[in-house]
């Protein structure tokens, strides 16, 4: 099938917004606000995303087949309003992995040039 063979590197590098949204969805499906919360909890105030950036990215990610809507239901922690949930597609997961590997390469170069003060904390091991 054409889709499953799509080149996961063709979309790289990802914009920060797309990368963070993919990361937020890597472990579980979430609705829009859930994605924002996850990013805020993980990246703090260094990544601030308004609804326009979030949904503009979601629109293009849906079109590129990186994510899909997985249904509508209320979030028990919020209220009884129905929310649309999003999840990664297989293609989305491969693109996320490819981007993480690309960034890892970049970090390795930074380490080799002694740009990082504390390389073992950031680089990780493959």
């Amino acid at each position: 099938m054409k889709n499953s063979n799509r080149d996961s590197e063709a979309l790289l590098p990802l914009t920060p917004a797309v990368f963070h949204i993919l990361l937020a969805l890597a472990d579980s499906e979430r609705h829009g606000y859930g994605i924002m919360q996850e990013i805020a909890a993980r990246a703090g105030s260094s990544v601030r995303m308004g609804p326009g950036t979030l949904y503009g990215s979601i629109k293009r990610m849906l079109a590129d087949g990186l994510i899909e809507a997985s249904g509508e239901r209320p979030d028990p922690a919020l209220d009884d309003e129905r929310r649309r949930y999003y999840r990664l597609t297989d293609f989305g997961r491969r693109v996320l992995t490819a981007e993480a590997q690309r960034l890892e390469q970049v970090v390795r170069v930074a380490q080799s040039k002694h740009v990082l003060h504390n390389p073992e904390m950031i680089g990780g091991t493959p």
Partner: protein, 357 residues
């Protein structure tokens, strides 16, 4: 920081109302899909900001949100503009279908164009041509063409016609059913239900509706479905034939013997249709099918074209020119004749041949 619950509630709902108005700066197609979710998400963010930092948190959130809104709405508008520029130049797709048993080569040249016309303020027509990249999907479900003509004030007609085209395609290809006719009919009914539902959510959208005409080409057959007065024609050699039947008042009168086709063409009520999407949860969708032959040309169009370019002219143009040049000339012709309405046409030239075994 503590605040009276009444005041908190007021600030929250005022913020949400304000944000909902600001969302008007995004293009209508974008709003149709995401406005509700964005409002919901913004309200969640407001709640969190108020709980954590009170009114200060709320003003900080507004700062971020406004900045984000100005930039992303400009970006979405630019993208919509780019998409319509691309549409203007048309698309050309070529595909080969291999069917089980006999090998049938299937080669389509497609061009599509929509134009605002000479007198309207906005273009409420929409169109799409979809040839699945996946050969198996193409073999099972065929290629789909849709033209829609929105009705309703402000931007609601645009929203209805965009939803009709997009949701017909999405529902049609999501279904595994290989019975093309019923699958196409169901997809249009589903699009209709979504439009009715959307119209009931917001006063500005109430009363929005749209025509739809859809055609699927699979193997050597074209399946057409319609609601309203957008049409599918098939042009073979020097003959042009309308495959679909309009759901218009003048066609009813012709059938009843009250009007001749010539009278109908210039009748003041020729624009009145008695069936459209968005009106009622249940809509009747008419189905037609035809065998296609090598060299046939399909034309899907709105009444902005057929009201101004007669069948003979239409036939002559698509006979003489390739699809890309044809759509261009058809729209030019309608505009020369006054262009009182939006004008949309998709032209598909079909080349069929038995592949060498």
């Amino acid at each position: 920081m503590t605040m009276k619950p009444g005041r908190t509630m007021w600030m929250l709902s005022a913020s949400v109302r304000c944000y909902r108005m600001l969302l008007l700066s995004y293009p209508p197609e974008f709003r149709a899909v995401f406005a509700q979710e964005m409002t919901q998400t913004f309200r969640d963010c407001c709640r969190q900001a108020m709980v954590e930092q009170g009114s200060q948190g709320l003003s900080r959130l507004w700062g971020l949100t406004l900045y984000d809104l100005v930039i992303t709405s400009a970006m979405e508008r630019a993208r919509t503009l780019m998409a319509s520029v691309k549409q203007l130049f048309g698309v050309t797709a070529t595909s080969i279908v291999t069917t089980e048993g006999s090998m049938l080569m299937f080669n389509l040249t497609i061009a599509q164009q929509t134009d605002i016309g000479r007198t309207r303020q906005s273009n409420e027509d929409n169109m799409l041509a979809y040839v699945p990249e996946d050969a198996q999907v193409l073999a099972r479900k065929g290629a789909l063409f849709v033209v829609t003509d929105g009705l309703g004030g402000h931007t609601s007609g645009e929203i209805a016609s965009e939803m009709a085209a997009r949701m017909t395609r999405d529902s049609y290809y999501q279904e595994a059913d290989e019975d093309i006719a019923t699958s196409l009919q169901r997809a249009i009914k589903q699009a209709n239900r979504a439009i009715v539902e959307r119209a009931s959510q917001n006063d500005a959208w109430s009363g929005m509706g749209t025509t739809v005409v859809a055609a699927v080409l699979r193997d050597d057959t074209v399946y057409a479905a319609n609601v309203g007065d957008s049409r599918v024609y098939i042009v073979r050699d020097d003959n042009i034939r309308q495959i679909t039947e309009d759901h218009s008042w003048v066609v009813q009168q012709i059938r009843a013997g009250q009007l001749t086709p010539e009278e109908a063409r210039s009748h003041p009520k020729r624009n009145i249709i008695y069936r459209c999407l968005g009106e009622d949860k249940d809509v009747e969708v008419d189905l037609f099918s035809e065998q296609v032959q090598d060299g046939d040309v399909l034309v899907l169009c709105t009444d902005g074209l057929t009201g101004l370019v007669n069948d003979d002219e239409l036939c002559a143009i698509v006979r003489q020119y390739q699809p890309e040049e044809s759509v261009h000339r058809l729209i030019e012709r309608a505009n020369e004749n006054g262009g009182p309405d939006n004008i949309t046409a998709i032209v598909v030239r079909v080349a069929l041949e038995k592949a060498p075994a």
